[in-house]
């Protein structure tokens, strides 16, 4: 009679076999004391291993877990708060950008009119000759304000009626801010130190 592989015997001892395989082992064990001894040894091993007991967790274990979880919760809340703050900041910044963009769009429409008016205006001024240097000098002085103030804005505002702003009373503070930026653009087109119309 051929003995079974040790793996089969161990599998049987620890109930790792499916039923057809287990019944084959069972049949063999009835006739084979050697294989039966191996299975019995594993049965005793199983009992011996059960002698290794562990104790209950220490009394403070549950409290420690709860504390750790509560601390984690606080950290999550703090993170959520920071995240919310960040998101709110981002939303406000986006809103500000939108407002500025809207204002730019609104004002650029009007500035387009003012630019063409200005070009149209320059011809007669150049023809007048004497007036042109004065205009350029005015612009030049805007480009390099002696006291660093925001005079360019005021200067352009001063020209508003001349360049077609008919509803300037309704212009908002934001629009004035835009004018400041637009003026820097305008001034940057001028050759530095040499007035465009000097010759």
């Amino acid at each position: 009679m051929k003995c079974l592989e040790t793996e089969k015997l161990i599998g049987y001892a620890y109930r790792l076999l499916d039923e057809p395989a287990a019944s084959l082992v069972r049949a063999h064990l009835g006739d084979c004391p050697r294989c039966r001894e191996i299975v019995e040894q594993h049965g005793r091993l199983d009992a011996v291993l059960s002698e290794w007991k562990t104790e209950e967790p220490s009394p403070e274990f549950d409290a420690r877990v709860r504390l750790a979880v509560e601390a984690q919760k606080s950290r999550s809340n703090a993170w959520a708060f920071r995240h919310w703050q960040w998101t709110r900041g981002l939303a406000l910044a986006s809103l500000a950008v939108l407002i500025i963009a809207g204002v730019v769009w609104f004002a650029r429409g009007h500035l387009g009119v003012s630019d063409s008016s200005r070009v149209a205006e320059q011809k007669p001024r150049q023809a007048m000759g004497a007036q042109a240097p004065a205009q350029v000098a005015n612009l030049h002085s805007l480009a390099v304000p002696g006291d660093g103030s925001l005079r360019p804005v005021q200067a352009v505002h001063g020209n508003k009626s001349a360049v077609g702003f008919t509803n300037e009373d309704k212009v908002t503070q934001a629009l004035e801010d835009y004018d400041l930026a637009a003026n820097f653009d305008l001034l940057s087109e001028l050759p530095k130190g040499e007035p465009r119309v000097a010759n």
């Binding site: 793996e7 002698e51 290794w52 209950e56 220490s58 274990f61 420690r64 750790a68 984690q72």
Partner: protein
């Protein structure tokens, strides 16, 4: 009983301190004890503290026991068990009810334990004589002719069993501890260890046969 608040409803959720003061908690915990792990974990995912508490009570002993057998050090075992529960809580929102809850739990635990064992090995490597309560006594124990003085008391038997298990390769040790002491089915062990079922059987065969040989003196009829 019907007049008790439903512990599942958000307005009846309690924080941990409340949970352990209120009498209704006894009811809450009792009624939810029959809830399966998956439902509890889904409620934890939705922010239910009571369900987390039930999972903690249900698995505190299995977790601590598993770690005590895996890493020996009692303090470390509790630290690691605490870490398992914390990780469960932290990842509650990502929890997907696909696998069995205990598969997930034991996978976290096994990874933590194996990492801790490796860390400790790194720490003590090059420190000879660490196994102060080990080898010599074992050799004395397997002496085929033990004297009366050498008879082992229960604590010694436990220590010898522990040493025999600890001497197994890590994956065999994890498989045996899960199978024998945590009573986890070999199919589930395969999912915990991410190996095939036949690989788990092979791990268990080798581990149990090694243990049978190492502990053979203890398997003789009667105690030595």
């Amino acid at each position: 009983m019907g007049s008790y608040p439903n512990p599942i409803r958000p307005e009846n959720f309690m924080s941990f301190p409340q949970l352990f003061r209120g009498q209704s908690v006894v009811y809450n915990v009792a009624t939810m004890a029959i809830e399966n792990d998956l439902d509890l974990m889904l409620r934890v995912r939705d922010g239910d503290t009571v369900s987390f508490e039930i999972l903690l009570r249900r698995y505190r002993l299995p977790m601590v026991s598993y770690f005590r057998r895996m890493v020996r050090d009692q303090g470390l075992a509790e630290d690691l068990a605490q870490e398992v529960f914390l990780r469960v809580y932290k990842s509650r929102e990502r929890y997907q009810p696909g696998a069995k809850f205990t598969t997930w739990l034991y996978r976290i635990a096994t990874n933590l334990a194996l990492n801790a064992i490796r860390d400790r090995k790194d720490e003590v490597s090059g420190t000879p004589g660490d196994d102060s309560d080990g080898g010599t006594e074992f050799e004395r124990f397997i002496d085929p002719q033990p004297t009366v003085e050498q008879r082992l008391v229960q604590g010694d038997r436990e220590r010898l069993i522990r040493q025999a298990v600890e001497a197994l390769p890590e994956n065999q040790r994890a498989a045996v501890l899960l199978h024998k002491y945590q009573e986890v089915d070999y199919r589930q062990i395969a999912r915990i260890l991410r190996v095939s079922e036949s690989a788990v059987k092979s791990l268990l065969f080798r581990a149990y046969e090694t243990l049978r040989i190492r502990l053979e003196p203890m398997l003789r009829e009667g105690r030595i």
